[in-house]
Symmetry: C2
Subunit: 195 residues, 2 copies
């Protein structure tokens, strides 16, 4: 016979991705056993983030302003095209990249009935033409849909005289060849570089 | 260059037990990408749980009332003694138990300078004497401190003519003997039952 408010909190934690009952319970107890100030801070961060964070009008990145801080401060001649806003965070770990981004919000996927007009390709073309972009880096996922989407966009951009590149595909750094799958290995062999 | 409000939310999720940066980030995005109503419900559940849930005056269980629902409705002649409020939730999975609980809020631990007076043993004795209790079940953890605490309390209760029992220790049901540790196995052998 668990008290209702605890159950309610556990239920909320269970809505998080990959969280089952036991983990949710552990989280809930950590809130209940913690300080009141911490609970307030936590709740505020949730409310604030949801209320104030939207998408950048320019690139589609998460932001609490109209134009995100990346679009405001970086080299707009290079655009890195990603599938989801969260991909930007992964790319940003590469400290040396100084260009801007463009979020497609999906990939072309005939299976899921998503065509070129259902993702932000038109917006990308507009940006490329208006802003005199020099290079577009396709950073869609290295899978069938990501590859197809990259190819589709490359075909649209090349006639405009823009350099279109794709993230290199091959064996991951620091990984073990023993565990690399054959598709990755064959791609790595195909794209081998002279040293 | 991640937006501040997202970072703030990620930081809050990182305060949960066992949550690292990647997981916290995943949780944060699920909030940001989710509906506003869900975020509000989530935040409310946190605030409400923290504000309204305290400890039952009788047994120490989590409750949003003065006396928890278990103390209000069950057989008070049997008390199951546990270490933490959350242990009650584990015990409650045993649907057949109809007694009440007593939370010690710790174990006797010379290493951590916790003596008998630092945990709720006095309160247990008072309850036992005032309420005509028939049986006290020691459900402290099956480790050195839990065993020592159970023994200590048993010694205090036996002179009062109260039946003191301890949860059986042995191999876990549905487990594999191959993976049972030797301490558990030797205990299981020692306490073997005629069938």
């Amino acid at each position: 016979m668990q008290e209702d408010l605890i159950e309610k909190l556990i239920e909320q934690f269970r809505t998080l991705p990959g969280v089952g009952y036991k983990t949710a319970q552990r989280y809930a107890f950590s809130i209940i056993e913690g300080k009141e100030e911490r609970a307030k801070k936590f709740a505020n961060a949730i409310i604030e983030a949801k209320e104030k964070i939207g998408f950048c009008k320019e690139c589609g990145n998460f932001t609490d302003k109209e134009i995100c801080s990346i679009c405001q401060s970086r080299n707009r001649k290079i655009i890195c095209v990603v599938t989801e806003p969260k991909d930007i965070i992964s790319m940003e770990k590469v400290k040396s990249y100084n260009g801007v981004y463009h979020v497609l919000f999906g990939t072309i996927s005939p299976l899921e009935h998503r065509g070129p007009n259902d993702i932000k390709i038109r917006e990308l073309l507009k940006r490329v033409q208006e802003e005199n972009v020099e290079e577009v880096i396709m950073a869609t996922n290295p899978d069938v849909e990501g590859d197809a989407t990259a190819m589709y966009i490359a075909k649209l951009l090349k006639p405009l005289g823009i350099k279109v590149t794709r993230l290199a595909q091959g064996v991951a750094m620091g990984s073990d060849l023993e565990y690399a799958d054959e598709v990755t290995l064959s791609k790595a062999l195909e794209d081998r570089k002279q040293i």
